[in-house]
Amino acid sequence: MNEIVFFINKGITSGLIIGSIYALGAIGVTLIFGILRFAHFAHGDMMTLGAFVTLILTAALASLGIVLPLPLAFIAMFPAMAITACLAIGLDRVFYKPLRQAGARPVVLVMASVGVTLMLQGLIRLFAGVRSRDMFIEAPKEIFRIPFPGASRPLIITEPQVLLIVFTFVAVIVLHWFLTRSRLGKAMRAVSDNPELARITGINTNHVVWATWIIGGALACAAGTLLSMDVTLKPDLSFNILLPIFAATIVGGIGQPYGAIAGGFLVGFSETLAVFNWAILLRPIKDHLWFEVPANLALVPTQYKLMVPFLILIIVLIYRPTGIFKGRVL
């Protein structure tokens, strides 16, 4: 039974956690691609930026001596999401909008977003240094140990992990409602479908662009904050997650928000299950097996985890270039 507990802790929970982070990031990337037609490489650093905004607000709350039933960082995340959304609109105003208006080709915008990435990384290091920080300023994070029947070890999940899963679930439902029920959400889908016809129809493209950055920026901030709460906040937080997020976007189907969610979890679970040591699950039945169970039976060594999204990406691009949800082909 302990083996199953281990599998749930290391395989299922981890997959769910990292999958949620990827999904939250990929939704933004896919919406930005659908509406503005370029791959936003600065998205990872928007996550770091959002997490730092949260950290500043958390420190402010903590210095006021406020104590709440939920972690302060989680509470501070909501105003930080609003601030990051505004910053995202600001970045668009200053860096991307002038290019769009000059009729720049998408690849130029991609390059501009690489520039924004470097700029944000520089700014964050300039003001915050390079050390890693704990998002739990007021009290250590709570860890839930849930006894599992028949096992001596408990299921382990931390408070930020629970908050992340709940937040992602709620965010997906709200996003679905927004895209299918609200006037602006439908207009976003219309612009993503056919921007020229959307203009002909009288849809205000500026509002749609703002909505895109608001959703993308807010969810990036949430993903960055919740990931930093799960581990720690480092200025290079974005570095290891940008690639899997892009893989999730493409695997799900570019421009497809539901695809981004599915792609996020697919990439997240593939990663954790690929590095999971399957030998542990085989050990209890090793007497009935015809082969010797090795000590470590992971598909991929942990150091090579980043290979997994690449591999999924290549397979998808070869066999189903439109992704799971029939998105655009690059």
Binding site: R183, K186, R189, D193, N194, E196, T201, G202, N204
Partner: protein, 234 residues
């Protein structure tokens, strides 16, 4: 004063000039039909009216206001609607959502207009929750037409509404154009089926090489031997 008045319009794509002096006017309540060979600049003329091109010379006025070079987004508020020749529906949106998007600029209750559109195009009612991209060409044309009607336009621009439709469907679409026109909507329509279209037109415009070569009533154009010989296939 004419509802739509186009004077000496010169326009093109970027630096490439296509229209070289188009003159066109429509009175309120008329059907105007634009015919001409492929590449004559018919679609380009509609796009120029709809603010999608570089206008280098000339003017367009609508209902007494100058709308030359106005942005497409703003024309819906002037109650001008446009159904382009291609890509004229939102493929992943349902039929119903396509119609709702047609009414995007409206802040009032448009449910009666929606019902009216479903009455004009009954096949759409059964397909209302299906993505428009999954419909047949004729049904898609109906969605595009219906979408444009949602603002209750004063002027509707139609670019080849019968392209690719069977003869029976074609006459159905023409019947709808006449019916909509009877409710007071001015129609400017580009058509390849020149004879049938000119037959229902109050005014006809023959374009060739980016200019008007003939302008007259629909009937007179049909009877004009020169027009018949060069543009109507004898």
């Amino acid at each position: 004063m004419s509802l739509l008045d186009i004077r000496e319009l010169h326009a093109g794509y970027g630096v490439m000039s296509i229209l070289k002096g188009i003159n066109m006017s429509l009175e309120a309540g008329e059907i105007g039909v634009i015919v001409g060979p492929n590449g004559a600049g018919k679609s380009t003329t509609l796009k120029a009216i709809f603010g999608m091109l570089n206008i280098t010379e000339g003017s367009i006025s609508f209902d007494g206001t100058d709308i030359t070079g106005i942005r497409s987004e703003q024309l819906a508020e002037h109650r001008i609607a446009f159904v382009p020749q291609e890509h004229n529906v939102f493929p992943t949106l349902s039929v119903h959502e396509n119609l709702e998007m047609g009414a995007y600029v409206r802040r009032d209750d448009f449910s009666s207009v929606m019902d009216h559109v479903y009455d004009i195009f009954p096949p759409l009612k059964d397909k209302r929750n299906q993505p428009a991209g999954e419909l047949s060409g004729g049904q898609r044309q109906m969605v595009a037409f219906g979408r444009a009607l949602m603002i209750e336009p004063k002027l509707i621009l139609l670019d080849e509404p019968t392209a690719g439709l069977s003869p029976m469907f074609m006459s159905q679409i023409f019947d709808r154009v006449i019916a909509i026109n009877r409710t007071g909507v001015t129609v400017a329509m580009v058509e390849q089926n020149a004879k049938q279209a000119l037959a229902i037109a109050h005014k006809g415009f023959v374009l060739a090489g980016g200019c008007n070569s003939f302008t007259d009533t629909g009937q007179n154009l049909l009877n004009n031997p020169e027009v018949a010989a060069s543009f109507l296939g004898g």
